[in-house]
Symmetry: C2
Subunit: 340 residues, 2 copies
């Protein structure tokens, strides 16, 4: 890395050379799809999924051998303001739960044969309280972004970035408010289960943060630094690294999409490799997905985070790929084609 | 079976003693769910799925060891009227494709470890053309219904009934028209891919059938006999057998739901054990699901039949069950509970 430019400039430079999708591979997938023993288009979005994989992997026969859920865990200074129904200590406790195999994401990954890696992001050093000061220094945010880029190491060929962090739906809501405008109440939800009083407190704290940083929120990386969190920075890095390496990404819910939204605000094309795994009922997630131009694959009322919705969608990706790869053609199965 | 009553009366008698759901098992599932390391409700419909399994299986710890997709294949006299984009010979060809493992349903079942059985329903004897006469005799329809009831034999603990039959979206549309009113165009879709001219022809043929049988469509079993098909009769039997045996059923798309709709018209409670696997874009399937009171688990634009949408939803069921069964509790994982 160059040393005479600021850390965020290094990130900006990465966005200057985003590889194009491989149209030739998409065309090959479409040609084979037309020969498979089914009416054209009858597998709906399963067909879109295979084209998406081909476009990114640059292969006429895309494959998923090493799918990974990468869960990033960070702590948030703003949690001290009572914006969550759970204490901040739960971040570390849940991280231990991931490690020992007891969380929901462990079971979903096991069901579909998906790898799981957990990235602990200096839990003993929470970000600063965004309602009083900037959450991070530029160096801190950039270093965590760079660390997140390692998520695709080791031949990962499908990535689902997930997160854990008490207080992080507040950070995500603040990011949405900064990117898209409106008061906190426009974007927030009850997170892990706030009551009415707790939600009012959360909204007030986020509005305070938005007011404090107003005038400094034009640059998405500055939004990340002032309002974000370590896991959001790391997910941005993971998503961008995947974009550069041609690794398809399934987006999880409310918090994971804040990372995608920041990249999208830098360059729409930066999340061209992402499909939305699911729609969450948390806050205005559905609105966010629309702004990102992503139609969710699943809509099951899940609002857990951990990458759980995206991991569930990996089951769909596996089925889609199996159909494309292993179905017989009209010719090989001796099935008659359309008459009209 | 009694011999001095008509075959349809035997079916009616089966509906007289539908077992109730096991509320005690549902309560046990809810108690455990509240202890799992996640905010209450955060897994959304995955939690509903486990309660559904418990209610039917009557077990506090429901299990899915032998899920089955049962594909019923039948031929339709009305196919001779040009209501499909594919020739009637494709029904038998696709059945061979199922048997040799080349169809979409084979790949989806393989992906999620689901069994697949194919039931051939006298393909050499298509039903009669419903636009000219009743499609079946009562004995014929009742015998096929009874045959369908065998689908759950061998310890099946989750059933997804599927179908194959060139012309059967016409039969299903006619059934919806008879049950819910309106002209054919209100209910039909393009099936395997009709062009505008073909769709107009299909609508005209179905409207002719509805006019011919008008005045005889008050009884759902009579609708089945006059407008249905063998695979629809068999799926009705399979769904009802599952209802009686406490086997949960995932409904597939447009044609499979015609069987469910007929049972529902006989007694709403007859499909109390069904969840909708997916919503199809074919015809008015979404409207049908609303009338049946079933919110689809998936909505991916799939319109293939074969049980493919329901089979895909079995992946969700497996993940839901894994979460419920294998997640740690707050106590076992040492995770703090809610503060507020």
């Amino acid at each position: 890395m160059l040393t005479d430019i600021c850390p965020f400039d290094e990130i900006r430079m990465l966005l200057a050379n985003l590889p194009p999708p491989c149209e030739r591979s998409v065309a090959a997938v479409r040609r084979r799809d037309a020969e498979l023993t089914k009416p054209p288009g009858a597998l709906g979005r399963l067909e879109e999924i295979v084209e998406w994989l081909a476009a990114l992997q640059g292969k006429a026969e895309p494959a998923i051998e090493r799918p990974l859920v990468a869960v990033f865990a960070g702590n948030h200074g703003v949690a001290a303001k009572g914006v969550s129904a759970f204490p901040a200590s739960v971040t570390k406790q849940m991280l231990d739960n991931f490690t020992s195999g007891g969380a929901a994401i462990n079971q979903i990954c096991a069901t579909f044969g998906v790898g799981l890696k957990v990235f602990e992001l200096a839990l003993e050093l929470p970000t600063r309280d965004m309602s009083e000061t900037a959450a991070m220094e530029e160096k801190e945010a950039a270093a965590t972004f760079a660390y997140g880029m390692e998520a695709i190491d080791g031949g990962v060929d499908l990535l689902a970035p997930g997160e854990m962090g008490i207080g992080n739906t507040s950070a995500a809501a603040a990011i949405y408010g900064a990117l898209y405008g409106g008061p906190a109440a426009r974007w927030t939800g009850r997170g892990t289960g706030l009551d009415d009083e707790g939600l009012a407190r959360k909204n007030a704290v986020i509005d305070q943060a938005l007011a404090l940083h107003a005038g400094h929120l034009a640059d998405p990386l500055e939004i990340l630094r002032r309002l974000g969190g370590r896991e959001i920075a790391a997910m941005m890095g993971a998503i961008l690294a995947a974009r550069l390496a041609g690794v398809p990404v399934l987006l999880d819910g409310y918090v994971a999409c804040a990372a995608a939204a920041l990249l999208h605000a830098m360059d729409e094309n930066a999340i061209g490799h992402c499909l939305a795994g699911h729609a969450s009922p948390e806050g205005a997630h559905r609105d966010v997905l629309q702004r990102l131009g992503k139609a969710p694959l699943l809509d099951l009322g899940m609002r857990l985070g951990e990458g759980s919705g995206a991991a569930l969608a990996i089951g769909l990706v596996k089925a889609a790929l199996a159909c494309h790869r292993d179905m017989a053609t009209f010719a090989s199965a001796g099935v008659s084609g359309k008459t009209g």
